[in-house]
């Protein structure tokens, strides 16, 4: 008799969460095979029942709080053969191995499954690295990308006491910073652009990575100096250049290859490959230029009545309508998100995100556009909404805000505005931040840089703000918006988050992006085919 009976509902929930947390390319492949993620979760649950029985016959039990790890073990996620596992003993093996590491978050468990068979020995280090990294991030201000790489390298190089890993990584960061500072002070940089970094990187970031590597070596007892940092810096610059000349193929930008090169370099000749794998599998988001912005396309259907607008009716009808709208908002916000994205969303919706923070800006802007499009357009059939422990607080806030907004008879864009806390205090900064990410996604060059600015200026708008498709020849060089709110039909790029109205026209966009004329800008709006093309399309198709 097992201690824990099989709980089908609970396993199905765990399976569906695992399905959601898989990398997008893998989800695509699995959906091709099984139809929907719900069907996939169903398949996993059925297999789970058989594995549970298999384990039960061997006197083993599956405690309910390990269902997430159990669900991860049910999937075979490698290569083209991704799918639900066929072999019961395999599942049992994977599950047992995962349990050996104690409580492993689903995202990390999935990352371990993405390793190839020959890299099985990296499962443990990967789980340890994920844990250490979380602790270091709570203590240090360094860029998460550096912390992730350094942690992966310290773990991969090995030979450290597991209990002291956090302290070790912090020590490497501290030591690396001062080494980098001294190295930079002695570096003779010639004025002008550095031809050594045609695609990615610069003397400063390369010096920083080189310094971290020296600090890691020092920890292992190798004496170091600025000269060593300089030598490593030169070596890294060379590998970076070489990496840029060999393309990955597919749609991956070259810069991704460069970042993996950083991680590989940190691990040194012995542990470079392991470092690259641990870092790369744990952190797909650091390798994506937009940090999970604009990845999932949600189709818009045009077959049912508009979502908002005058409701009238009884209090009950209003509540019902509010519930309907709230569910749509939540679907648009959370569709296709994984745990890290859900954390960003929840922090924002529950008011825990400072209004001038940078975290996840491109992603959140993209979600604002989705909700805005949905609430202004016709509603399709409402998809199923799965609530998770981590998202409950955000869901409650959205439901209550939507109800309040509808009671006050707000509709469309005004409704979205009243639901969402401000994403910025000055729009200009948010536009430029997002433009910097777009530049990395689109690639280098004067025209691409202008395009990135153009797309950012078009997309980074609060819900009730629009782009006017017109030229304003009389517009003065300086916007005279200091005098307070302007009428909605006037164009002002500096409108605060809460102010409805037009924020850009072809003239402001031309000046901001640096295109020579308004007609060039108009042409780029029309022909743009890069990331966020759907939001550019929306602007050019929208009735004004």
């Amino acid at each position: 008799m097992a201690d824990h009976p099989f709980d089908e509902g609970r396993l199905r929930a765990a399976a569906s969460q695992v399905a959601d947390d898989l990398p997008p390319d893998l989800v695509d492949r699995l959906i091709t095979k099984y139809g929907t993620t719900a069907a996939l979760a169903e398949e996993m649950t059925a297999l789970g029942r058989r594995v549970w029985a298999h384990l039960d016959r061997r006197g083993r039990t599956v405690p309910p709080d390990t269902y997430p790890q159990f669900a991860v073990a049910l999937l075979s996620v490698r290569g083209r053969l991704a799918g639900v596992q066929q072999n019961l003993a395999n599942v049992a093996d994977v599950y047992t191995r995962l349990l050996a590491f104690g409580d492993v978050p689903v995202g990390v468990a999935i990352a371990t499954r993405l390793l190839k068979d020959k890299d099985e020995h990296l499962v443990g280090p990967m789980i340890v690295a994920a844990r250490t990294e979380r602790e270091v991030r709570a203590r240090r201000q360094q860029p998460p990308m550096f912390i992730g790489m350094v942690t992966a390298a310290v773990v991969a190089v090995g030979g450290r006491d597991a209990d002291d890993l956090t302290a070790d990584v912090v020590a490497v960061l501290d030591r690396g910073d001062i080494l980098a500072a001294r190295h930079r002070a002695g570096l003779k940089v010639a004025p002008g652009p550095d031809a050594g970094y045609p695609v990615l990187g610069n003397a400063d970031v390369v010096g920083q990575i080189a310094a971290y590597r020296v600090a890691i070596a020092e920890m292992g007892g190798v004496a170091a100096s600025e000269q060593v940092v300089a030598a490593h810096g030169a070596q890294l610059a060379t590998s970076l250049r070489r990496a840029m000349t060999t393309t990955l193929g597919g749609a991956e930008p070259d810069v991704l290859k460069g970042l993996l090169e950083f991680a590989r370099f940190l691990g040194g000749p012995e542990a470079g490959e392991s470092t690259e794998k641990i870092f790369g599998k744990l952190h797909p988001e650091f390798l994506s230029p937009m940090e999970f912005g604009g990845r999932y396309e949600v189709p818009v259907e045009h077959d049912s009545p508009a979502l908002t607008g005058a409701v009238g009716g009884t209090a009950d009808e209003l509540l019902l309508h509010a519930d309907h709208v709230a569910r749509w908002v939540l679907v648009e916000l959370f569709a296709g998100t994984r745990a890290p994205e859900q954390e960003v969303l929840t922090a924002w919706l529950t008011g825990c995100r400072p209004p001038d923070a940078q975290e996840g800006m491109a992603f959140l802007v993209d979600r604002v556009r989705r909700v805005d499009r949905r609430l202004r357009g016709p509603a399709g059939e409402l998809p199923e909404l799965v609530e998770r422990a981590g998202t409950a607080a955000a869901f409650a806030v959205v439901r209550s805000n939507v109800r309040d907004a509808l009671t006050l008879d707000l509709d469309g864009a005004l409704l979205t505005r009243s639901i969402f806390p401000p994403l910025w205090t000055q729009r200009d900064g948010a536009v430029r931040l997002v433009a910097s990410k777009l530049r990395l996604a689109i690639g280098r060059g004067v025209v691409n840089s202008a395009k990135a600015s153009l797309v950012a200026a078009v997309v980074v708008r609060a819900p009730a703000q629009q782009v006017r498709r017109a030229v304003d020849l009389d517009r003065p060089e300086t916007c005279s918006c200091d005098d307070g709110p302007r009428p909605v039909e006037e164009v002002c790029p500096h409108r605060p988050w809460g102010e409805a109205g037009r924020v850009e026209d072809y003239t402001t966009l031309t000046r901001f992006s640096g295109f020579s004329t308004e007609s060039t800008t108009r042409m780029h709006v029309k022909r743009y085919d890069g990331p966020w093309r759907e939001w550019m399309r929306e602007v050019r198709e929208e009735a004004q």
């Binding site: 940089v189 610069n202 940090e291 940078q358 000055q426 900064g429 430029r432 530049r439």
Partner: protein
């Protein structure tokens, strides 16, 4: 991926050679420049409106007020905690608004560093109520080209060659002068000092009926500002005289309005 707009900054203090460095980490390629002695900076090559990705300031006898303004409050707070101690590097995180402020403050130097090849900048950039900085004007060349003379620049007998520069329109409006400002060079014998004095004279025309509030200085790290004062003979014209040794490097000329300085 990491860009300077994410606001991750590393502030370094190095007692030898007496230097403060600030790095805003980015993976974007950058352009490096040295606007003047003791001040170097880099900017992301494709970011026409970005903050500096790297700044190097030689401390000398302490940071000048200008340098403190350039670094801004949040970074200065870190710098003040470091200077005087041993070599140290400290990490901090700037908010988006703080990065935006930094980007605005550095506009004059960004435009100059990113302008390649270095061209004469006749019209500068002015943001955040600070100063505009015009480089590559050829002040030293003009001084060297000028033959030895004992006449004052305003001597009627001598033909004075004036060069035009354009102030940013908002700066000119606030300073209550025409956008067009002119400069020339002078050489004269100073009987008191017993030597020749050379320098640059700057002249602006005030808007009718106003009291112009324009200051000028060399962007050479001294942080000195000279107010333009009315010419007795021409009430609408204000001038300033800036001594300059032609043996030194070519400084940039910078302008600000009187509101934010003690003169």
């Amino acid at each position: 991926m990491l860009t300077a707009w994410d606001g991750f900054a590393r502030v370094d203090y190095l007692p030898i050679p007496g230097r403060v460095q600030v790095t805003l980490s980015t993976v974007e390629p950058t352009v490096f420049g040295r606007p003047r002695r003791g001040l170097a900076c880099a900017f992301a090559a494709d970011d026409t409106g970005g903050p500096p990705t790297f700044v190097e300031v030689d401390i000398g006898f302490g940071l000048t007020e200008d340098e403190e303004v350039l670094l801004g409050g949040p970074l200065m707070a870190v710098v003040n905690g470091l200077v005087g101690g041993g070599p140290e590097a400290r990490c901090t995180r700037l908010t988006l608004d703080e990065v935006t402020a930094l980007a605005r403050t550095w506009a004059p130097y960004r435009d100059r560093v990113l302008a390649r090849p270095l061209v004469e900048m006749r019209s500068g950039t002015w943001t955040n109520g600070l100063w505009t900085s015009l480089a590559g004007l050829g002040l030293v060349a003009a001084l060297r080209a000028r033959p030895m003379a004992v006449e004052l620049y305003r001597d009627e007998a001598e033909e004075v060659v004036w060069h035009d520069v354009l102030l940013p329109v908002d700066l000119a409006a606030l300073a209550m002068v025409d956008q067009e400002v002119r400069w020339s060079v002078y050489r004269e014998w100073d009987p008191v000092a017993g030597r020749e004095e050379t320098g640059v004279v700057v002249r602006a025309t005030g808007s009718p009926g106003s009291a112009p509030r324009l200051l000028v200085g060399f962007d050479d790290g001294d942080g000195d500002w000279v107010p333009l004062v009315p010419e007795p003979t021409e009430p609408q014209v204000v001038i300033a005289v800036l001594p300059l040794d032609p043996g030194t490097g070519e400084p940039a000329l910078r302008f600000r309005t009187g509101g934010r300085t003690d003169g």
